[in-house]
Amino acid sequence: MELLLFGIAKDIVGRSTINLSPDSTLPGSVAELKKLLVADYPDFSKLSSFAVAVNSEYANDDVVLGHNDEIAIIPPVSGG
């Protein structure tokens, strides 16, 4: 499972993707993924908010994650 990182999320993690290797404990849902991120990178808890996108759509906390999904961390957007 690979996570795409953008904006400040990339700065917090220090790179633009995170690979969760198949044999580690993979998050089963968006909520679990968020918990995992905050545990590994406490700076995520300092953000105004952050969302998760699954296959380039905003995903609620209860969305289930599959191994082949494209998953992205979406910090507060600020286009325009």
Binding site: P75, V77, G79, G80
Partner: protein
């Protein structure tokens, strides 16, 4: 609504937008251009840097223009946003809508830029002389 023009670009040329929006049934065209301002809270901005999650950004732009077209009837729409480093007065986003009457193109254009700023995955970093700040990242 004709097929919308939705793009993420490195360089934004706004002078041709009118031609893209011209349509024989459109009596009104409303265009919004966002540009880099020199000062934010009295601090001089050297540049803005924009980054995007492109596939998702284009999907969200599409959703936004479809929502707008359900609220107001219009003929053509253009949404184009830059990525990369932009300097003061550079245009960074253009939203244009053409419709039969101005009662439709004004609110549709406003709705699209407002919604874009809330939902489209584009991030802006303000580059000051001695620091860089991701806009809206922190409370």
């Amino acid at each position: 609504m004709e097929e919308p023009i939705l793009e993420i670009v490195d360089e934004l040329n706004v002078s041709g937008v009118y031609k893209e929006l011209s349509h024989p049934a459109s009596g009104g065209i409303c265009v919004f251009i966002g540009a880099v301002r020199e000062f934010t809270n009295n601090e001089e901005v050297v540049a803005l840097e924009f980054e995007t999650y492109k596939t998702m950004a284009l999907k969200e732009m599409q959703k936004t223009v479809v929502q707008a077209s359900e609220k107001w009837p219009f003929n053509k729409v253009v949404v184009r946003h830059v990525v990369g480093v932009k300097k003061v007065e550079d245009p960074v986003v253009v939203v244009g809508v053409s419709s039969a009457h101005r009662d439709a193109c004004f609110p549709a254009c406003r709705y699209i830029i407002d919604t874009l700023k809330q939902t489209v995955p584009i991030w802006k970093k303000e580059i000051f002389r001695n620091k860089e700040v991701w806009v809206s990242a922190h409370p």
